[in-house]
């Protein structure tokens, strides 16, 4: 195909079609680039920086950087792993993430990412911020202690649910998710089945009264590390 793009990730040739990002092309080829804010059904956001790769020697977010002919991408290198470890580490200490009793445990992408990266305990100091819960909605609650500001809820509500429910407010360390209502989530048109709820990678937006219903051992990441579904595509294709 004449418009096919070829580039390399860690020395392996990857084929992409024009318009694909590096991350999308890598996924299609069965090469896993760690990510948290990226979601296959949502537009790229480039906010978490966990997917940082080196493109021709310069750090770029693989989820927003277009694939281009001949680029040399460094992904699974010690240097990139160190960068990601540091980023994930900071996400942990910036919020209040208590995996040991969080109902998202075992199904949480942040926790799974930490396991994949071999983070046993954060290297940075905990900030222990004080963040409010919003339990006003009958079916959904927001625990901002666990929010990593990935923006998936903002995008999923707009792009998949066609609703305007979530938005970022504040800047820097004070940035947080707000809801499009004066007195909390219950005043929005969010429904428990909305994609904005299931798109949350962590335990920040959760359906009420279903926590812990999946036993330990049966949860998503009890069975396989995060990213192994993408890598399985690669092995099944014999690449």
């Amino acid at each position: 195909m004449s418009d096919e793009i070829k580039f390399s990730i860690d020395g392996v040739e990857i084929k992409a079609i024009p318009g694909q990002t590096i991350l999308q092309a890598a996924d299609a080829a069965g090469v896993y680039i760690p990510r948290l804010c990226a979601h296959r059904q949502l537009s790229p956001h480039g906010s978490c920086r966990v997917c940082t790769v080196k493109v021709n020697g310069r750090p770029q977010a693989a989820c927003t950087q277009p694939a281009a002919p001949g680029i040399i991408v460094e992904n699974n290198t010690d240097e990139m792993k160190a960068v990601r470890t540091s980023i994930v580490d900071m996400l942990f200490v910036e919020g209040n993430h208590f995996c040991m009793f969080c109902e998202k445990s075992g199904n949480c992408e942040l926790q799974a990412m930490a396991y994949r990266l071999g983070i046993a305990a954060p290297q940075h100091e905990y900030l222990f911020p004080s963040r409010p819960l919003d339990a006003s909605h009958p079916e959904v609650f927001i625990d901002r202690n666990r929010c990593i500001l990935c923006g998936r809820c903002v995008r999923a509500a707009k792009e998949l649910d066609n609703k305007n429910v979530f938005q970022f407010v504040g800047r820097g360390i004070h940035k947080h998710i707000a809801v499009n209502a004066e007195h909390g989530l219950s005043e929005t048109d969010l429904a428990g089945v909305d994609r904005a709820v299931s798109a949350c990678p962590v335990g920040a937006i959760l359906r009420k009264r279903v926590g812990y219903s999946i036993p330990v051992g049966e949860r998503l990441y009890d069975k396989q590390p995060i990213g192994s579904d993408i890598e399985a595509d690669r092995s099944s294709a014999g690449k």
Binding site: M100, F101, R209, Y212, P215, V216
Partner: protein, 476 residues
């Protein structure tokens, strides 16, 4: 000789951190002795605002020894919050299996690893051998049995709760898994051995008490009331029932009280020297209304045990006191091993019950705003009381932990032993260990037992040996 104060800190071979202070006058006579709980818990405060379904998983984190008890007591309260009065057979039996596994491992841990050095070597034996390493060296088979029995209990917990420590099995209205055939068969394979070891452990505890009856009668023995959950037919039931309290002679103070009304019958008093509160039976009052809980209280207060081996053992136990309540602190060990055997018998029955492979796991009902969950934890009656608002957030939590109920009895035991063994003599480590032996009989879990952040002012005082306050710092 001048007045002095002896401090034992930390108290060893107990769960959690505590200290004992012993005051002696200028003639070397013990004037006072107290057990202080110096840990700080705070769970009742910081679960406020959290969603109610999180509580059974969160609250159990206050303990690493018997988290299952907290997990289940909270889950029982949350069953009522979601409007479920009766669980499906599979859910209830899975929880019971979890609980008996918990009871089994906790009692085995205490008997073999915490108290056995005292019983096997003597209270004042050389401290170099009077420890679990010493037991492993001289009685290796016992040390190994202790480890293997604890492991078995933990495997049961894993099969029912998902993890050996801090699992997630019990959810409001039921359980999140059943017992697979593979899990059942793996546990059944070992049950006969565990039963045999349980019988042997019971024999050690019984023989020790019978052989040392005069010592036991003179050692921290005092009359008290006893409190326990009891089944409707009067049988011991460690998972569920109504409240029964008996007085020192075995007369019922109250019986078959629905524990949702516990606060009408039990109150708590705060004292200045401990983070742990002092519960008492309201109708008797704070001075004399204290009571014992745990294995001794349960065996004393039940009419019978519904498993044959444990029932036979109970009869032998009660025969020692002519059917009247047994008030020996050292009697706890024997009673605890009766319960160990009872738990093994219950585990065996449950493993053979096909209901555990059922698929009907969770029920739902009409939401309620307030509920109490009670369970007989290894160390005694455990109270969990919650209020939940219309947004599903916990607004109030009160816990009365087993060790809290045994607070007054332990202080009496400490005081009695200190006065008897430490007055007017040269005080040695072995003699001081007598005080710890008295505390250990109750198998206290000190980390569970302190009270809520924000409920009680924190005060630190520095006193000279005459008891004069040199400095004081307080927060409210």
């Amino acid at each position: 000789m001048t007045a002095k104060k002896i401090i034992i800190e930390p108290v060893t071979r107990v769960e959690g951190h505590g200290k004992v202070t012993i005051h002696l006058d200028d003639k070397g006579q013990v004037t006072d002795a107290k057990l202080h709980i110096v840990e700080f818990r705070g769970f009742e405060r910081f679960i406020q605002g959290r969603p109610f379904w999180e509580v059974p998983v969160t609250i159990q984190r206050l303990c690493g020894i018997c988290p299952v008890s907290h997990h289940l007591a909270a889950a029982k309260a949350m069953d009522l919050i979601v409007g479920v009065d009766k669980l499906t057979p599979t859910a209830e039996k899975m929880r019971r299996l979890m609980h008996y596994g918990q009871m089994f491992q906790s009692h085995a841990l205490h008997f073999f690893h915490l108290c056995s050095p005292d019983l096997l070597f003597g209270f004042d034996a050389d401290v170099g051998i009077r420890n679990v390493v010493g037991v492993a060296a001289k009685y290796p088979e016992l040390a190994v049995q202790g480890v293997m029995m604890r492991r078995y209990g933990q495997e049961i917990i894993k099969a029912t709760a998902g993890k050996k420590i801090h699992g997630t099995g019990a959810i409001p209205g039921g359980i999140n898994k059943n017992l697979s055939i593979a899990e059942r068969d793996a546990l059944l394979k070992e049950i006969d051995q565990q039963m045999a070891w349980s019988k042997a452990a019971l024999k050690i505890a019984k023989d020790y008490t019978v052989d040392h009856l005069e010592l036991a009668k003179a050692f921290a023995s005092f009359e008290s009331s006893h409190l326990t959950l009891i089944r409707e037919d009067g049988a011991m039931d460690l998972y569920h029932g109504n409240l029964r309290a008996i007085d020192k002679d075995g007369n019922r103070i109250f019986d078959q009280v629905n524990y949702q009304q516990y606060a009408d019958y039990i109150a708590e008093e705060v004292r200045d020297y401990s983070y742990m509160e002092f519960p008492f039976i309201r109708s008797i009052g704070p001075e004399n209304g204290w009571y014992r809980v745990g294995p001794l209280a349960r065996v004393n207060a039940c009419d019978f045990i519904d498993t044959p081996l444990a029932e036979a053992a109970r009869k032998e136990f009660m025969a020692v006191t002519g059917g009247k309540p047994n008030h020996l602190s050292l009697g706890y060990h024997w009673a605890r091993m009766i319960e160990l055997l009872h738990s093994a018998e219950k585990i065996q029955m449950l493993l053979n019950d096909p209901d555990l492979q059922g698929e009907d796991l969770v029920l739902k009902g009409e939401r309620r705003g307030e509920a109490v969950g009670l369970i007989e934890a290894p160390r005694g009656t455990l109270f969990h009381h919650y209020k939940v608002n219309e947004n599903d957030q916990v607004t109030m939590c009160n816990l009365i932990v087993s060790t809290t109920s045994n607070n007054e009895p332990m202080n009496r035991a400490v005081s009695s032993v200190a006065k008897k063994y430490l007055s007017g003599v040269e005080i040695t480590e072995g003699l001081l260990n007598h005080v710890e032996v008295a505390i250990r009989a109750y198998d206290p879990c000190l980390s569970c037992a302190t009270h809520a952040l924000g409920r009680m002012p924190l005060e630190v005082s520095v006193l000279d040996c005459a008891g004069n306050v040199l400095s004081r710092k307080a927060t409210n």
